[in-house]
Amino acid sequence: MPLVLTEEQSMLRDSARGLINDKAPVSHLRHLRDSKDETGFSRDLWKAFAEMGFSGLLVPENFGGSGLGYVEAGVVMEEIGRTLMPSPFLSTAVLATSALLRGGSEAQKSAHLPKIADGSLLAALAVDEGTKHRPLQTSLQALRAGNGFRLSGAKALVVDGHTADLLIVAGRTGGAPGERNGLTLFLVDPKAKGVAIERTVMVDAHNAARIAFDHVEVNADQVLGEVDQGFQLLDGLLNIGRGAVASEMVGLSEEVFGRTVTYLKERKQFGKLIGEFQALQHRAAELYVDIEITRAAVLKALQALDADLDQAGAAIAVAKARAGTTATRAVQEGVQMHGGMGMTDQFDIGFFMKRARVCQELFGDSNYHAEQLARMKSY
């Protein structure tokens, strides 16, 4: 598979870019933040997204979607990263769709996938519990009770958790935190008794929630995949999420970098354009190289997801780790090279810095993925 976009993928990118640039430039996020918008994203825009087929991008055609792959999902995520548009694309169109596709029964698929495709159902994946992303450390209890299970515990950084119509929750039906066995995924109605959702206003002005589960009852038919054997399913989903977030970080990095290079060509100091100074030229060039390398690594990882999800772990670890460090570097250099202006709220660049920090933490930061790679390579 060549590491370039096909013509169809380029067209998809252009149409996503057109819509997002037009309807959701950075000022859109700024407005949602400043008005303390309750949902934190625009439902009208999500509807437009659905009409263009983006919400059902991964949904198979027989369930009303386009049946495209992870490279295409990454293409859209990258465009989202360029303007930081808040939307349920990651949580619903990518994560929940993949969860249902890979683990769902026919009944679960037909109940939810068509609604995801038409934009009427929003979903969220609830995994993290502690300070850092440690999926194996999941401790939320899912005890057997009658015909089903009873969930108790808490989740943090549930992306879009406060607007979701459906929660996908990782819990422990067996084993101890740290063990692969004993994890199970559940489809949970956020309105069920015992679910308490607190919207957490985050540094990046995107949506997240803390969710507490207090003896929440779920039926056996709400199990996604197999009881006790959920880790492989979850790990695959997380890798999909990592690929998607890495794509967002590529878009974010490239946008910040583009703005910075433009600034270097406009801003004068000491009677010269600052872009003439070699110290800045070399730093800009290094960053360009970093971004290009990361872009290749991310595309490689997305192709690996499409080819064989279970074999994509190493490529994903490389992509997410690289994307995290590259985005961090891009936003830091971006603010620094913009000087005092870069520190002001009035200037957009700070939004990118804040979003990059969240994307770093989401589904494992660069250190986490370096550790994973070292383990995969047995040293």
Binding site: V261, Q281, A285, Y288, A297, A317
Partner: protein, 394 residues
């Protein structure tokens, strides 16, 4: 089954049948590289067998046209061949500046007579080439070179000095930049010319490096007579050829072709340092450095692959090889710093059989030239800044 799958199956079978087991082990010394040339000697029988079989198939230069001694493979087939050779650990049968640098320039700028004369000999490993670019006072500022070629009837008379001429003392021919118009602006008076190192007036002197080796030479030209027909491309337009060739040189030095060969760094380190009960390398900081390195190396392998695919799709930037050269060489230096760190005290040994003649420290020192030769890292970053990012200032 697609044609490409058939090709892959047949290629794998052919390589299995024809690549001697000795040629599938990682290289351990300079002797494992076969450079060809008039005075070439094989270091072993398997090396000879492997070279000759590959040569006969045109696979010393798989992607060159068959009429010039190549294999005539298209890009996809060439990639399959590379993948199959890598999977098997098969060594390159012939190393050659003729293949990596001159060949591509001749294919683009040479006239038919020049192509017919030189390309098949490069492919067959008959002539070993060296490059006459750098001069004592023209390092990174290559275009300020002073070696001059003065017209004398059908010939040029060449006088001057080159430096850092890799393996000039072993080379049969040289591809050389000379000044044919001293009055023109510095980039506009240069020509690209080929001549025999056995010509009267050519002499070389090796330069001893910090690695204890002398892969480079000073090269002197004292009234060397060269036919004008040996100019490649247009007289005084040699800079175009030079730049094109430099792209290939930079791609070569960036090491994009050799990634992932040899034992993984984490294993090398574990061999010498040991692991803890959980199987983790017994040096947490080094383990972390290796993991960071592995990430960057894997990502660099992806961008190398993408660079080829972009070129194929007509979407690559001509200056991108500078970006690759910069990162690849810095990465290679990091690899060897880690290897030295992992080797610890053992890696400090310079002259002993145990250390294979100090192979590791010598290789480490050699890599320090990577970010200097073929354009320094600073020059590469300058090229990226100006030609790709279009930042102001000349």
């Amino acid at each position: 089954m697609s044609d490409l799958e058939t090709f892959r199956r047949e290629t794998r079978a052919w390589l299995e049948a024809n690549c001697p087991p000795e040629m599938r082990r990682p290289m351990t010394s300079e002797n494992d590289t076969y450079w060809g040339g008039r005075n070439a000697k094989f270091s072993s029988e398997p090396q000879r067998v492997w070279f000759e079989r590959m040569r006969d198939k045109g696979w010393t230069v798989p992607d060159w046209p068959k009429e010039y001694g190549g294999g005539g493979l298209d890009r996809a087939e060439h990639k399959v061949l590379r993948e199959e050779m890598t999977a098997m650990g098969a060594r390159s049968p012939l190393s050659s500046f003729g293949i990596w640098m001159l060949g591509p320039a001749l294919l683009k700028y040479g006239n038919e007579a020049q192509k017919k004369e030189h390309l098949p000999k490069i492919a067959a490993g008959l002539i070993r080439w060296c490059q006459g670019y750098s001069e004592p006072n023209a390092g990174s500022d290559l275009a300020s070179l002073q070696t001059r070629a003065e017209s004398d009837g059908d010939d040029y008379i060449i006088n001057g000095q080159k430096i850092w001429t890799s393996y000039a003392n072993y080379a049969d021919w040289i591809f050389c930049l000379v000044r044919t118009d001293p009055t023109a602006k510095k980039h506009d008076g240069i020509s690209f010319i080929l001549f025999d190192m056995a010509s009267k007036g050519v002499s070389t002197k090796p330069i001893l490096l910090i690695s204890g080796y002398s892969p480079f030479c000073e090269t002197f030209f004292d009234n060397v007579r060269v036919p004008k027909s040996h100019v490649v491309g247009t007289v005084n337009r040699g800079w175009d050829v030079a730049k094109y060739l430099l792209q290939h040189e930079r791609a070569m030095i960036s090491g994009t072709g050799e990634r992932g060969i040899g034992r993984p760094l984490g294993q090398v380190a574990a061999d010498s340092l040991g692991s803890d009960d959980a199987g983790r390398l017994d040096d947490a900081m080094l383990r972390s450095q290796i993991a960071q390195f592995d990430i960057d190396e894997a990502a660099f392998a992806a961008v190398a692959e993408r660079a080829i695919d972009l070129a194929k799709a007509g979407q690559s930037h001509p200056a991108f090889s500078s970006a690759m050269k910069y990162y690849g060489t810095e990465l290679n230096k990091r690899r060897h710093e880690i290897l030295m760190s992992a080797g610890g005290i053992d890696a400090l040994e310079w002259e002993s059989e145990r250390s294979r003649g100090g192979a590791r420290p010598r290789a480490w020192l050699r890599t320090k030239a990577n970010s200097i030769e073929g354009g320094t890292s600073e020059v590469m970053l300058g090229i990226v800044a100006k030609r790709i990012l279009d930042l102001p200032g000349a």
